[in-house]
Symmetry: C2
Subunit: 507 residues, 2 copies
C-alpha cells in the first residue's frame, strides 16, 4: 500500500510507526506486527494503530526512521507486511525449554542490538531466560555474541588482568588501591568501572573527583601499556553496547536472569581482552547472593564459563553485610581511598579487602607472597607512587593529596540516644540517606560512618555524619535517616548537633 510519510516527534528504542486502523486492516496488519517500508531504502518497523490521530493514507514515522528509509516529510512510501525475524522463533524455542544453537543466540543478540526485536519480544526473551536458563555452552555463545556487538580491545602486552565485583556494596572503594598495588608489581590491569545505577556512588563516580575517567579505547591501551594500571569508566567505550538496551527491559521487570548477568559481565571482560579475572562475590543478606552455598555455585559457574572463553577466573567470596570502610559518597570515598594509599592504616576492612583481591591477582601472575606481598607494596609506598602515576596519566594532579578532597560544607551528626552495641548496619538505608543528601551527582554529599558492626556505642556518641552541598538536601537526608534508621542498637533518635561548617571525621 502506498502511504504518505509524516514526521512524528517521538523516538523509541524500537522503530515504531503509526497507521490508521482501516489502512492496517487493508494490509492485513495488527498492532505490534512488522511492516516493510520502502522509500529510497527499505526499513522494518513495528505497527501501532491510531484511528483518531492518523488519517487514512498516511503513515506517521519518527525522524530517525525517515532518515534510514531515505524519505522526507510528505513523500510516498510503500508499506507491506513483514515476517517476524527468525530470532522470534528461537525465543519461542527458549520458552519451550530448548537449548539454542550458537547462530540462534547470535541472531537474537544482533536483532536486539539492531532494533529488530520489539520490547514485547525482548521481554519474552528475558522472561524465558529467567525461567528456563541456559547451559554453560549457551552462556559462552551468549557472551561472545554480546561482546561482538561492540568494540574489542587488543593489547600489545599480555597477560591482561582484570577484577570485577558482582554486587553493589556501599563504600566499596578498593579499585584504585587494587589497581595501584597490582600495577606496582608489574602486572597490567586496565580496570574499567561503572557509575552508580541505583547505588550512592560507583567507582567512576568517586575516581572522577581526582582524575578523568572518560578516556577512549586508544588512551586506555596507551595508559595501560605504559603505566600498567587504569581506573577508568567503561560506559563511554562502546563495549558490549547491546547491554544498555537489555537493561532497560530488565529494569521494569525487576529481573536479571543469571545467564544474562553472567554473559553481560564476561562480555565486557572479553571486550577488554582480559586473560585473567578475579571475581569478587559479595555475599550476605540484602545482596544478590544471600548465602555461601549460592556464592560457591556462582563461583563454579563463572570459572566454567571462563574456561570456555579462555579467561582464567578465580573467585573471592567476601562478606557484604555492612559497608566497606567508613565513607560513602564520591569525595568522602575518594578521600578515604587516597588516605590509605598515603599510609593511613585504617579502616581495616578496606585495606584487607583490597590486599586480598590484589593478593589473588599476584598469585595468578605467579608473583610469590600473595596478600602479604600486596600489603608490603601498599605499606612501602610503591602503590602510592604507582597510583599518582596513573592519576597523572588520566589527566589528574600528580601531587594529589587526600586533603585536597573536601566534602560538602553542610553536615550534621546523628547521635545515639542509648548505650549498647551495633547489631546491624543496613546497606540499603545507608545508600538511601546518602542519595537523599545528593550523592552521587553532588560530589561532596554522603556519609561518614563512625561505628561498625559489633562496636560499643555510648549514649550521646555520634553514629555517623551526613554531608551535603546545600541545607535543603541535608535536611531531607536527616529526615531520611529518621524514617529509615540504618543502624540497630535497640532504638535510635536523630538529633542535630552541628548545623553547618566543615567537620573533620576520622575515617
Amino acid at each position: 500500500m502506498k502511504l504518505n510519510a509524516k514526521f512524528i516527534d517521538i523516538d523509541s528504542a524500537e522503530p515504531e510507526i503509526l497507521l490508521n486502523g482501516q489502512d492496517a486492516a487493508a494490509i492485513g496488519l495488527k498492532e505490534n506486527d512488522r511492516i516493510n517500508i520502502s522509500g529510497t531504502r527499505n526499513v522494518v518497523a513495528i505497527v501501532n494503530i491510531s484511528d483518531t490521530l492518523v488519517p487514512r493514507g498516511e503513515i506517521f514515522m519518527p525522524d530517525g526512521l525517515m532518515a534510514l528509509c531515505g524519505v522526507s516529510n510528505g513523500e510516498q512510501v510503500d508499506v507491506t507486511y513483514s515476517e517476524k525475524p527468525d530470532s522470534v522463533r528461537s525465543i519461542r524455542r527458549k520458552m519451550d525449554g530448548e537449548v539454542l544453537t550458537t547462530s540462534e543466540i547470535s541472531s537474537i543478540v544482533n536483532d536486539i542490538y539492531e532494533s529488530k526485536l520489539s520490547k514485547i519480544e525482548i521481554s519474552a526473551w528475558l522472561t524465558a531466560l529467567y525461567i528456563n536458563g541456559m547451559n554453560i555452552d549457551e552462556i559462552a555463545d551468549f557472551t561472545m555474541a554480546i561482546a561482538e556487538t561492540g568494540e574489542i580491545i587488543r593489547f600489545n602486552r599480555s597477560p591482561v588482568f582484570d577484577f570485577h565485583s558482582l554486587g553493589g556494596i556501599p563504600g566499596n572503594k578498593i579499585t584504585p588501591i587494587v589497581v595501584s598495588i597490582v600495577a606496582a608489581a608489574g602486572i597490567m590491569i586496565p580496570k574499567l568501572s561503572s557509575r552508580a545505577i541505583s547505588s550512592a556512588c560507583g567507582t567512576s563516580d568517586f575516581v572522577e573527583t581526582f582524575c578523568d575517567v572518560e578516556i577512549d579505547a586508544e588512551n586506555l591501551k596507551k595508559v595501560a601499556e605504559d603505566v600498567g594500571g587504569v581506573f577508568a569508566w567503561g560506559g563511554g567505550m562502546n563495549l558490549a553496547p547491546v547491554d544498555d538496551i537489555v537493561i532497560n527491559i530488565e529494569h521494569p521487570l525487576g529481573i536479571n536472569p543469571k545467564a544474562q548477568m553472567m554473559a553481560s559481565i564476561m562480555a565486557k571482560k572479553v571486550a577488554v581482552g582480559a586473560t585473567h579475572l578475579v571475581l569478587d562475590i559479595p555475599t550476605g543478606k540484602g545482596t544478590k547472593v544471600p548465602t555461601i552455598e549460592e556464592a560457591k555455585s556462582y563461583a563454579r559457574d563463572f570459572m566454567d564459563l571462563g574456561e570456555k572463553l579462555g579467561i582464567r577466573v578465580e573467585c573471592a567470596i567476601t562478606y557484604a553485610d555492612q559497608p566497606v570502610g567508613n565513607a560513602v559518597g564520591p569525595i568522602l570515598e575518594a578521600r578515604e581511598c587516597i588516605r590509605i594509599l598515603e599510609g593511613q592504616d585504617h579502616p581495616a576492612s578496606v585495606i584487607e579487602k583490597a590486599c586480598d583481591i590484589a593478593g589473588i591477582i599476584l598469585d595468578m601472575a605467579d608473583i610469590p607472597g600473595g596478600s602479604v606481598k600486596a600489603r608490603d607494596i601498599l605499606k612501602s609506598g610503591e602503590a602510592h607512587r604507582k597510583f599518582l602515576e596513573i592519576v597523572e596519566a588520566q589527566g589528574g594532579n600528580p601531587d594529589l593529596k587526600s586533603e585536597d578532597l573536601v566534602p560538602g560544607k553542610y553536615s550534621l551528626d546523628v547521635i545515639s540516644t542509648k548505650s549498647g552495641y551495633i547489631h546491624n548496619i543496613h546497606n540499603k538505608d545507608i545508600v538511601y540517606i546518602a542519595k537523599t543528601a545528593g550523592a552521587p551527582s553532588d560530589k561532596g554529599a554522603g556519609l561518614m560512618i563512625h561505628l561498625k558492626k559489633g562496636q560499643r556505642v555510648e549514649e550521646g556518641q555520634p553514629l555517623f555524619t551526613i554531608y551535603a552541598e546545600n541545607e535543603t538536601k541535608l535536611k531531607r537526608a536527616r529526615e531520611a535517616a529518621m524514617r529509615s534508621p540504618p543502624m540497630d542498637i535497640e532504638g535510635m533518635l536523630i538529633k542535630r548537633v552541628s548545623s553547618a561548617g566543615i567537620r573533620r571525621c576520622a575515617g
Copy 2:
C-alpha cells in the same frame, strides 16, 4: 520536579510519556520506569527518554493522558517516581512457578485492562503463563477476572445453551444450522461468534451477508428470549474486553498460553450467562490440537473448569484435516448453509457436524433422540422456519432464499492435470487462496471445492473454482494457487478455463 506539559500526537495502549534524559536522571528515573504526573488530577505513566526531542523542563504527553491529568498544553505538572503496581510482583511470582491467589490474578487482569501494566510487563506475564501454566483453580479465578472487565448479561430464561469451536477450520458454516435446530426444539441458545482474524471467513463474516450481526446486549436478550436463537457478533458487546489488549501482545509472540486461551473462551461464556456449553475440539494436523490424546486432555480440562464455574461442559472431538463442506468465503458459505436448511442433502460433512453438535445439546437438555432428532428437525423444515424467524429478528429478509446469495462475478476453475485420488487438502493453502481472492472483506470472494479427500479425480476435471469481485484479485488468487497448491494428487497444474461470468457449482 515541575515540568511543562507538551502535547505529542501519538497514542498507545500503554500511557507513555517522553522526558529529557537529564530531567529523568535528576528524578532518578530510567526508561520504562513509572511516574506520577500531578496536574488537576494524578495519573501514572511509563517513561520514555529522548534527549534530542525533549528540551529540559518539558514533558511530552499524549492528549488522552493530558485529559486524564486535567492539564492543557504548556501547563505545569509535578512529576515524581511511582512504585511499580503490586501486580508486577505477582507476575514475578508466576515467573518463579508459584500459584497465584484470587486477588493477585484479579489485580493483574485489572491492571492490564486499566493500562497500568506496560507491554513489557504483559509480555513477561504471558511468557510466564506459557511456560509455567496455571492450575484449574487459578484458571477459574482468571476466567472470572476477565469476564468482570466487561458486561455480564443476565437472561430471564434459563437454561442458557452455548457452543464454541476451539479451532479455525475453513468452511465451518454450522452455526446457523445448529442454532436453528436447537431453538426449534425450544432451547434458548444466544450464540455469539467472531469475525475472521487470520482465517478467510468467520461465522459473523458470512452471517452478515443475509442479516445484521451487530446487535447490542439488550437486543441479544430480546431476540434470544423471544425467538430462542441468535447468531450475532460478540465483538461489539463489551464482553471480556481485556482480551483485546492481551491478543495484541500474544500475536507478535505467536503464543496463546493454554491458561489464557481457556480463560478467554470461558470468560465470554460467563459474560453471556451460559449454563450449558458444547465445546467442539477440531483435531488433526495443522490445527491447535494435533492429536486425539491432546484433544482428550483439553476436553477434561474444560470440563473441570466448567465445573468450577458452574457451567456444564460437554466436548465433541471432530476431525479437521480438510475444510467442512465445499464452500469457503462469506457469500459462498452463506449459500451452502442456507441450501442445507432449505433441504438440500449435501455436503454431508456440514450436515453431520451440525446435527452431531445439535444432538449433544438436545441430550444435555434432556430432549430424547440426540443427533437423530436433530436430523429430523432439519429434514422436517422446522429448523428452516426457525432460521427465517431468527433472520427476521436480526433485521434480515424473512423470505430469504439461497439463490439470493450471488458470489463474485469473476471466477475460474482449477483443473487437474492428471487422474488419481485426492490424498490431502491443505487448510492453510485453501485459506491463503480465498484471502488472496479478497475474502472476507470482499463478500463474494472465496472457493468452491469440488472434490474432497479420498475422491477420484480424472484428468481435466475441475478441482475447485475460485471466485473474486474483480479480475486483479482473481488473477492474484490464481497465482497463489500455483504457488501453494492446496490439494495433493501427485502434482497439479493451474489452467484457466472460464474467464468471467457467473458459474454455478454443485455444493
